[in-house]
Symmetry: C2
Subunit: 142 residues, 2 copies
């Protein structure tokens, strides 16, 4: 368990029939419990956010496509903590993003077509524990 | 927790920026603990298998592409327990496949290009707990 936003490189094991891609083990430092796993599809050039979870730790990976994540601190001036593209296309970009409670998160599809985000969430979905702001609330740098 | 192979329809929540797709909650009947989440990519027309886990419960979903799963009983005549295509393309096919220990599993990419299987596994990967047979050991019906 952690209170830091972190990026962790993940293993990709190539096979002729298709790769095996690691995501999260219960013994990993970023693991904060299992409440729910779900996928968020994001279309090319679309941006989802801003959302701030107040109790959920997110463990995010991208098994298909490419997604840019921007994470901002909860307190003014809401500095950018992470701005990174996750994708399974290279060892450099195949990473897990761990976000403990209390950070603003937005993400944009930067692959062609649909990109897939998985969240191994520490608690089940609960709309009461998340705050939402319009995308225009904070800029996403070019 | 369960000792039965089961298919469970999952919710797809459409949004203009891309759908949210349910996968597994800790409170679901098929949940058997969280050991590891990983992805298995399967290319079109390729088949991975046969593998039988002796301690792991698999919770399988397909967030991208389309994958045919064939599950066979461990004891002769190794009857087919499930033969189903999973894909996020329709409410009918967007399902979770739960496989408790002791069944032979194979799966084939039946979408175009890469299809993605996620396994929310009840224990971390342990090559000692799984048996493997050549694909030719059991037929996959046409």
């Amino acid at each position: 368990m952690t209170d830091m936003v972190s990026l962790t490189k993940l293993r990709r094991i190539a096979t002729p029939k298709g790769a095996v891609l690691h995501c999260l083990k219960a013994t990993d430092a970023g693991f904060a419990g299992f409440g729910e796993a779900y996928f968020s599809v994001v279309l090319a050039a679309e941006t989802k956010g801003w959302k701030k979870h107040n109790r959920m730790t997110l463990n995010l990976a991208v098994p298909s496509g490419a997604v840019r994540f921007v994470v901002r601190a909860s307190k003014p001036p809401h500095g950018i903590v992470v701005d990174a593209v996750l994708s399974p296309d290279s060892d450099e970009t195949y990473q897990r993003l761990t976000v403990p409670p209390g950070f603003w998160v937005a993400f944009r599809g930067v692959g062609a077509g649909e990109s897939i985000v998985v969240n191994i969430a520490s608690i089940p979905h609960d709309p009461q524990e998340a705050d939402v702001l319009d995308l225009s609330a904070f800029p996403i740098p070019d």
